[in-house]
């Protein structure tokens, strides 16, 4: 199932209820971002259709995280427009707190709330942001934890969970808000190799259930298999984008080729 038909939203992801996902799109136009005098994003254009999975790849410092963080405005763009799930993220009049309810974010270092159990991690924003009753919030949280395979560990605190388990709780926490879009910033980079697979499996199921996903990753096998579109960034620009069969297996640009050969054959020449 590695290539040919990247469209999903098929049945066959029984755990992640496809009917609950209302995927939305993202349109980024001529996005610029500087830190002081250093321009980190130099005019990015990117469209992501509802239910599409986009993998962002590129060397360290190329601006992948910055791009992702501009989408939910953890960083403020300097110029350009970002349309997210019907909101204009770059419009100063947009209520970003409302917009962010629809945009789930998963961080490299999980950022679970250490003073709360896995269940409470998933419930707190439902209660404090969406105003759900505790009972309902906990029911939804338990459901999301079941989805990511951690229903049994709902009462554990983050420091009682492995890295892979913590990251799956972080995914469940984002899903509990019923987002229209999910952003992942190197979700498996901080994990022990043996727990990476569990996280990728959840992400694959989520993709199959039809979630719009933008994933910064160095997992080329995952990108090849799951992505509808792979975007290669270098030096703050999009160098090349297209289906994985083109960008990963048959890259056109020298920079993409060099990067891929380094990632796919670390240590080799």
């Amino acid at each position: 199932m590695a290539d040919s038909t990247p469209r999903r939203r098929t049945a066959g992801a029984p755990d992640l209820h496809a009917e609950d996902i209302h995927a939305e799109d993202v349109t980024i136009t001529d996005l610029h971002k500087s830190y002081g005098d250093v321009e980190v994003l130099k005019g990015i254009d990117l469209t992501v259709a509802p239910g599409e999975v986009v993998c962002l790849i590129g060397p360290s410092g190329s601006g992948k995280s910055t791009l992702l963080r501009c989408i939910n405005v953890l960083e403020k763009a300097n110029a350009g427009t970002i349309e997210v799930a019907g909101y204009t993220a770059t419009d100063p009049d947009t209520d970003l707190d409302v917009m962010r309810r629809h945009v789930g974010m998963v961080f490299q270092h999980f950022n679970l709330f250490p003073q709360l159990t896995a269940l409470e991690n998933c419930s707190i924003a439902q209660r404090r942001v969406l105003g759900r009753e505790t009972g309902e919030a906990n029911r939804i949280s338990q459901d999301r934890l079941d989805m990511v395979g951690l229903g049994e560990l709902a009462d554990r605190y983050p420091d009682q969970l492995s890295g892979g388990q913590q990251q799956r709780v972080a995914i469940a926490r984002a899903l509990a808000m019923e987002p229209a879009l999910m952003l992942f910033d190197e979700p498996t980079s901080a994990l022990d190799p043996e727990t990476v697979g569990d996280v990728l499996r959840v992400m694959r199921e989520l993709a199959q259930a039809g979630m719009t996903m933008i994933v910064v990753t160095h997992e080329m096998a995952f990108a090849s298999e799951v992505a509808d579109k792979v975007v290669f960034m270098d030096g703050g620009v999009v160098v090349e984008q297209g289906p994985p069969s083109e960008v990963i297996r048959n890259p056109q640009h020298q920079r993409t080729q060099t990067f891929l050969s380094r990632v796919l054959h670390p240590g080799g020449l």
Binding site: D97, V98, R100, R101, G104, V129, L130, D159, M177
Partner: protein
């Protein structure tokens, strides 16, 4: 000599024990124990200290400390918020205040409120107000720094995760950041209460009525009695320990718990 490491360590420890034993023996022989007990631990004088040392002195020390702490905490919160504000002048004022009051002796502030203001303006503040202001103003500088450090010790990712879930700035602070900062702050805050307990004795400057004596002054008053020796001071010192030792133990407990939480 051909001693290996372990033998050398054992020899060294043996010598240290021997020195200690000699010192103890010399003390037992040389010291006049009857004079010593009369001077420091005279049972009759100890008995005379009660119940006043508890019902007046210890009680007042606790009241003065509590008054100072309430003001110090309230001002400390405001100062900490000013210190992390994005508005420059707030930051400068808070920094100036904190550096000033951490840099001058608490005694100076007590003199200012207890003696300086009455002399300069011709009215004197009530004792409770004086101790509350002096102690509160000095300690708020320390508490502000503790609070600021605690808030900033919570990793930035916690705030970002909270905001990513749609929480407002205020909600993220209340639900996520402050509860974590609180655990970090608790041990140093407990230590500051210990400091305040001791510093509350500086109120003696103002000249207190007998009903207002706190522990140090109560002890001082006790030793004016010609035959009392130093025993009254020992008793009031012991009363400080009744407060400070459990607090110190608590602070270490909090610290251990926080350390465990953060692995």
């Amino acid at each position: 000599m051909a001693l290996n490491m372990r033998q050398r360590a054992r020899l060294s420890r043996g010598i240290q024990y021997a020195i200690f034993a000699i010192i103890v023996i010399v003390l037992i022989v040389v010291v006049d124990w009857k004079t010593f007990v009369d001077a420091f631990l005279n049972p009759k004088v100890i008995a005379e200290q009660f119940p006043g040392v508890l019902t007046i002195a210890l009680k007042n020390t606790i009241i003065y400390t509590a008054l100072g702490f309430v003001l110090a905490l309230a001002m400390g919160i405001v100062l900490a918020l000013m210190k992390i504000s994005s508005v420059g002048p707030y930051r400068w004022i808070a920094t100036g205040y904190i550096e000033f009051f951490r840099g001058v002796p608490a005694l100076i502030v007590f003199i200012a409120f207890g003696l300086g203001i009455p002399t300069a303006f011709g009215f004197s503040l009530n004792t409770y107000l004086t101790v509350m202001l002096s102690l509160g103003i000095v300690e708020s500088a320390y508490i502000a720094e503790t609070l600021r450090a605690g808030l900033q010790a919570v990793p930035r990712g916690q705030y970002e995760a909270a905001r990513s879930l749609g929480m407002t700035h205020t909600r993220a602070m209340i639900s996520i950041i402050i509860p974590q900062a609180f655990r970090i702050i608790l041990p140093p805050l407990t230590n500051e209460i210990i400091m305040m307990t001791k510093d509350s004795s500086l109120i003696f400057l103002v000249g207190l009525s007998a009903k207002q004596y706190e522990l140090a002054l109560f002890g001082q008053n006790g030793i004016t009695e010609p035959s009392a020796g130093l025993t009254p001071l020992v008793v009031s010192g012991a009363c400080y320990l009744v407060i400070t030792l459990p607090l110190g133990w608590l602070a270490r407990r909090f610290e251990a718990r926080t350390a465990k939480m953060r692995k």
